[in-house]
């Protein structure tokens, strides 16, 4: 018993030794700047001299800023829509592409391309696709179905939706790849047993596939929520937060505070709030999904 415990202790020690280089790197490049960022939240940052302590002022300014609140709402709408829509579509794609046939293998590789394309390039492509006149590629397609030309990014009413569409296009392959991996872990025996019991295709999906994919859902939605909160390049490279602030998200606001007005204190306070919100939401979601399972 004690020998076993000693061995376990030694294994833990070895594990920590292996972890140390990574932890040191993380500490230096992530945790220290983070702590410093939180610290800066309480100062009016003055680059030429001493920073001035302002207490909770920066947080108050951020919380009371209607533009920031609107940006938070946009971030939530954007994050949830992208997460749910891409998960649903990705699941359908994964169901169609599971298995090991050669043709499927090719399609599976090809369809993954959007996931590895740089966001900036995707943004440029979508600016072209979404060209808001009747001669725009997507509008030509819509025209075939009698839909009038859409303004896409150029109207406050459609910009956020168009942005969601672009992100879903990019996120689906990524989610689908995880789903395909998840589907492969579900035992074939379960499907066979269900089929023998007379379960229909739909019932097999509902009672075997969906429960079997529960951990996959957790991972995909958690990653999507985090991704959704950190959305920046997608917005900055397409609309810059406009028109009329309709696509302004938390990150574009922080960027403007930090890098356009150089108000590092305010930008840090906004970032700190963002960090807390993301951590809390993720924790709530994980607790909820754990209790459910």
């Amino acid at each position: 018993m004690t020998a076993a415990r000693r061995r376990a202790g030694r294994e833990t020690l070895v594990a920590w030794l292996f972890l140390i280089p990574a932890l040191l790197a993380f500490a230096y490049f992530k945790f220290l700047p983070m702590v410093e960022g939180i610290q800066l939240s309480f100062y009016k940052v003055n680059f030429g001299g001493q920073n001035t302590w302002v207490g909770w002022d920066n947080f108050r300014t951020v919380v009371n800023d209607p533009d920031f609140r609107a940006a938070l709402v946009h971030t939530l709408i954007n994050g949830v829509s992208v997460a749910v829509l891409s998960a649903v579509i990705a699941l359908l794609v994964a169901l169609a592409l599971q298995g090991s046939r050669r043709s499927v293998f090719f399609v599976r590789s090809a369809i993954f391309l959007p996931a590895i394309t740089s966001v900036a390039i995707v943004a440029e492509i979508f600016k072209l696709l979404y060209y808001p006149s009747a001669t725009g590629p997507l509008n030509i397609v819509l025209g075939w179905f009698g839909v009038p030309a859409q303004p896409f990014f150029s109207s406050p009413d459609t910009a956020l939706g168009s942005l969601v569409g672009m992100q879903v296009w990019k996120a689906v392959p990524y989610d689908a790849a995880i789903f395909i991996a998840g589907l492969a872990t579900i035992s074939k025996d379960l499907y066979e047993a269900a089929a023998i019991d007379g379960a229909s295709r739909w019932h097999r999906f509902l009672n075997v596939t969906v429960p079997g994919l529960a951990p996959t859902f957790t991972i995909i939605l958690t990653l999507a929520i985090i991704r959704g909160f950190r959305v920046f390049t997608e917005v900055y490279a397409t609309t810059g937060g406009g028109p009329a602030g309709s696509t302004d998200v938390v990150m574009t606001r922080i960027y403007k505070l930090g890098f356009e007005t150089f108000d590092y204190g305010l930008a840090s306070a906004a970032s700190t709030l963002m960090f807390i919100v993301t951590a809390v939401l993720t924790a709530i979601y994980l607790t909820w999904s754990r209790r459910k399972a």
Binding site: P132, G240, F262, M274
Partner: protein, 439 residues
């Protein structure tokens, strides 16, 4: 099973959420020593070659090498990073409108005008834009420019339209360019006015300023004791904003104008998407190359309801307080402002001019370039050039008005007066923050 999945997921979540926090680090003072002199400029493509040529000429003259860092749209971001890490260069060549911003960051060295070699040759208007609200100088001028209307001459002559003389004429020309197929390709794919309407870097505000002044309005009005009143809620400003919005709402502006930044708008003009562009002479060389000199003409924007004012701005060489080479930095800034430095910047790369209008009275733009168009640009600058108000920090005002104007431009049915009232309130708050709001 559940906790096995959830626990790594939780730590992953916390780690990744942590990434949401930008790495903002503290301030340390740079310890730059000796040669070479580090200079940052906002420039792209052949503009960078022009700066390198200036650097080489300076080195020949003084023996000191110049180490350039070039950036364009991400200039501010890189600059912010450099300030935060205490790794600033010796000299930064940047917009005159950035002076207040840089000053408020506390990174600028004061410049003794009398120590600038040839300081008397630098024109008064340029010196004024290197002045802080306290009347002291914080930069050495390097270049100026003024906004004018660039018109597709071939389109105009094809449609037999005279040069515009009023704001209304411009609207009519924009409509004709949109509807009468001026490029004759048989497709309905051309537009009138090119508008950079994005909030990014305050472009919408930057673009609208000429119209606001021409309509007789202004952002702020000076009051007693170096204070300012916010004056965006006037009928004149409303006239200007409505005029610009009319191009978007009649669809005579380029599509997606509301999100366009300047890297979108210049190609809109020279690739033949739209035929009217109010801008500075940064890209004359590019337009000459891509379009051809004979295809476009440059005129003052037709007189507005009140006057013919046009946005004038420029660039200064700012010397960083942290530089260990204050004398050398000033020497380089003086060289850039000297006839020799100015001439290289004007002519080294035809499509990458880093000195647009010379700030040195001994240099004549038209003769140096052997191009009479520059004589008229210089004349417009002298006669109608209008710089941004001399508030302590213009950048936050440009950004907040840019967002406000973008809001108005994005909806054709928005109540302009009411929206301007909202922007004016925000403007008052900003003036108050800068401690210059008139009581």
């Amino acid at each position: 099973m559940t906790s096995k999945v959830a626990r790594p997921a939780l730590s992953l979540a916390v780690l990744t959420a942590a990434l949401a926090l930008p790495a903002l680090t503290g301030v340390a003072h740079a310890q730059g020593t000796g040669t070479p002199l580090k200079v940052w400029t906002r420039s792209v493509g052949t503009q960078q070659d022009a700066y390198k040529a200036i650097g080489k000429a300076y080195q020949t003259k003084t023996g000191q090498a110049i180490e350039f860092t070039f950036a364009s749209t991400d200039f501010e971001q890189r600059f912010a990073r450099a300030i935060a890490s205490g790794d600033l260069p010796d000299v930064v060549v940047n917009d005159t409108a950035q002076l207040g911003n840089l000053l408020s960051l506390g990174v600028l060295s004061q410049v003794d005008r009398n120590k600038v070699v040839g300081n008397k040759d630098i024109v008064a208007a340029a010196w004024k834009s290197a002045q802080g609200v306290d009347g002291k100088y914080y930069g050495v001028p390097s270049s100026t420019q003024v906004f004018e209307l660039y018109i597709r001459k071939d389109w105009r002559t094809k449609l037999r339209l005279p040069l515009p003389r009023t704001w209304d004429d411009v609207s009519k020309m924009a409509l004709a360019f949109t509807t009468k197929d001026p490029d004759g390709n048989g497709k309905n794919d051309t537009y009138g006015m090119v508008i950079p309407g994005s909030t990014t870097r305050g472009y919408a505000s930057w673009f609208l300023s000429t119209f606001i002044w021409q309509a007789g309005g202004d952002f702020v009005q000076p009051a007693a004791n170096n204070t300012f009143r916010a004056t965006l809620d006037t009928p004149a400003v409303a006239t200007a904003v409505k005029y610009v919005r009319s191009f978007i709402c009649t669809k005579t502006a380029q599509p997606n104008a509301i999100n366009a930044v300047t890297s979108d708008t210049a190609p809109s003009f020279y690739t033949g998407q739209a035929g009217l562009y109010l801008t500075g002479p940064y890209q004359i060389g590019t337009f000459d190359k891509e379009l051809g000199k004979d295809k476009y003409e440059i005129v003052s924007f037709p007189k507005g309801p009140a006057n013919s004012d046009a946005l004038a701005e420029g660039e200064n060489s700012y010397i960083m307080k942290s530089s260990k080479q204050q004398q050398n930095a000033l020497a380089f800034a003086s060289f850039l402002a000297s006839p020799e430095g100015q001439k290289i910047g004007m002519t080294y790369a035809a499509d990458g001019i880093v000195v647009r209008l010379p700030i040195n009275g001994k240099v004549n733009a038209a003769t140096v370039r052997n191009d009479p168009r520059w004589a008229s640009i210089q004349a417009v600058y002298a006669k109608n050039g209008h710089t941004v108000p001399n508030v302590p920090n213009w950048t936050p005002i440009r950004l907040l008005t840019g967002e406000g104007f973008n809001r108005i431009l994005s909806r054709c049915d928005s109540n302009v007066e009411q929206e301007l009232g909202t922007i004016n309130t925000a403007l008052k708050a900003e003036l108050d923050k800068q401690k210059v709001l008139a009581k």
